[in-house]
């Protein structure tokens, strides 16, 4: 198996794409450390099934990241890959978006990821490891009533590009993924906010997608597996777009 013996930290792994990535990388042979904000019996069961370590940490709290990571990595003493998949999302029109909540989106998505990379870097340099950061196609093209989310995800794109350049010479490979609309529990939240049924929102999104359907979480997990393949090191500082053809552009 291509990731046998590799230790991978996946953030936001309790549900949706993060969980799909965890299952996929387990299948590829990786040893997993799974992060999410809260621990519950469901997450404990997932960890048990995947024989994974848990790292419970709210990634909007930058200090918490540092000490929780230190704690977690002192027991594994190695890390081969970081998959920064977590995100906080809330939608509101620009003027009405609560100040604190607006910044929480940016702190969780952009700053949380930044600190995660910074704090894991010594381990990744040691292992000549890889980083995969999940951005979003909304970070490429923007979205109404998602100014904080789009800004945070666009920031991640630039972070990937800069770190791709900066860290490649020390042997750490950094890339990003910009998923299009993916069928995750977040869509239920979106549907609720818009006061429409889930089927309606799926149909609405699919209407904009040339492949005429939204994506599935496992299709993003495949991209992570593709980028972490030890055989592939020539993809550097790139944003890989998987969006059903909705955005045909260089990120």
């Amino acid at each position: 198996m291509k990731l046998s013996g590799k230790t991978v930290l996946i953030t936001g792994a309790k549900q949706g794409m993060g969980l799909a990535i965890a299952k996929r990388l387990k299948r590829d042979g990786a040893d997993l450390i799974l992060n999410d904000k809260n621990c519950d019996s469901n997450f404990k069961r997932i960890a048990k099934e995947l024989d994974a370590k848990l790292m419970i940490c709210d990634l909007s709290s930058l200090d918490e990241i540092s000490y929780t990571l230190k704690d977690t990595l002192s027991s594994t003493s190695k890390l081969d890959a970081l998959v920064a998949q977590h995100a906080y999302m809330s939608m509101a029109n620009f003027e009405d978006h609560d100040d604190e909540d607006w910044w929480k989106v940016v702190e969780t998505n952009l700053l949380g990821t930044y600190v995660l990379v910074r704090e894991t870097l010594p381990y990744l340099i040691e292992s000549k490891g890889k980083v995969v950061i999940t951005s979003s196609y909304w970070g490429l093209i923007g979205w109404k009533e998602a100014s904080a989310y789009s800004a945070s995800k666009a920031g991640l794109i630039s972070l990937v590009k800069s770190l791709g350049r900066e860290l490649c010479p020390v042997g750490v490979n950094v890339n990003g993924i910009a998923p299009g609309v993916i069928n995750t529990p977040q869509l239920e939240v979106d549907a609720k906010n818009l006061n429409i049924k889930l089927e309606k929102i799926l149909e609405m999104y699919a209407g904009n997608i040339p492949l005429a359907r939204v994506g599935e979480s496992f299709e993003i997990a495949s991209v992570v597996s593709f980028l972490l393949d030890p055989e592939q090191n020539a993809i550097v500082g790139q944003i890989v777009n998987a969006n059903g053809g909705e955005v045909r552009s260089r990120a």
Binding site: R165, P210, L211
Partner: protein, 230 residues
């Protein structure tokens, strides 16, 4: 179970050969269209610039191996020259091989894929078609044009579940880059974040991904380029 069928143009050497090997190792039947003979299940010697030849070749391949599940348009040629040295003959040649060659492959394989509502078409473009380059204006124009065609075809064929995508390799360690090329000097390699040329196997890994697991990719470009264009 029927084996899947791949067509690779320019499979006699370099990136094309690596792609052919990758599909073969994964249990696919592989057909080649190249001016030279290739080590594949069927090797047809034809010129990608000639639409009739390519249509005939594809017919022969489908008659022998079955419908093509994935086609990789890879045949190309490379030439460094300043724009003032590029005469009309070498300009037209460059466009015909790359843009015309890809168009011909697309015209030959897409009708059947559309009918079957299944299939993938992959164009091997170049980072030079995204970021441009010095003294290579005709090549980068042709490669940029391929990318435009990929995006348009992706829109036209996505409704039929046919995915069209591109790979834009960086400088890759193949015979296309001669041993005395400036792209093999330490000075050039040092400009790449990765500090080395791309391996053909890194391109074939991406091609195989797009043909198989990359099921939500359409009209996209994957860039194994050693960080040449970020």
């Amino acid at each position: 179970m029927n084996k899947k069928v791949a067509l690779v143009t320019g499979a006699a050497s370099g990136i094309g050969a690596a792609i052919a090997i990758r599909f073969k190792q994964n249990g696919w039947l592989v057909a080649s269209i190249d001016k030279n003979k290739a080590n594949t299940n069927i090797s047809i010697q034809a010129n990608v610039e000639n639409l009739a030849e390519i249509k005939d070749a594809v017919k022969e391949i489908e008659n022998n191996l079955g419908p093509i599940d994935s086609a990789v348009s890879n045949a190309g040629h490379y030439e460094m020259k300043s724009i003032q040295e590029v005469d009309n003959t070498s300009l037209i040649k460059m466009i015909q091989v790359h843009l015309g060659g890809f168009r011909n492959v697309a015209l030959a394989v897409l009708p059947s894929m559309r009918e079957r509502r299944d299939g993938t078409l992959i164009c091997i473009a170049s980072e030079l078609g995204i970021g441009g380059g010095e003294f290579i204006s005709h090549y980068s124009s042709a490669k940029g044009a391929q990318i435009g065609l990929v995006k348009s075809l992706s829109l036209e064929y996505a409704p039929f579940n046919v995915r069209v995508n591109a790979i834009a390799p960086g400088p890759t360690d193949t015979p296309l880059i001669p041993l005395d090329s400036p792209e093999r000097t330490p000075v050039f390699l040092n400009t790449l974040p990765l500090k080395r040329l791309v391996k053909p196997e890194e391109i074939s890994q991406a091609a195989y991904f797009l043909a198989t697991e990359g099921t939500f990719f359409s009209g996209e470009i994957i860039s194994p380029n050693a960080g040449a264009v970020i």
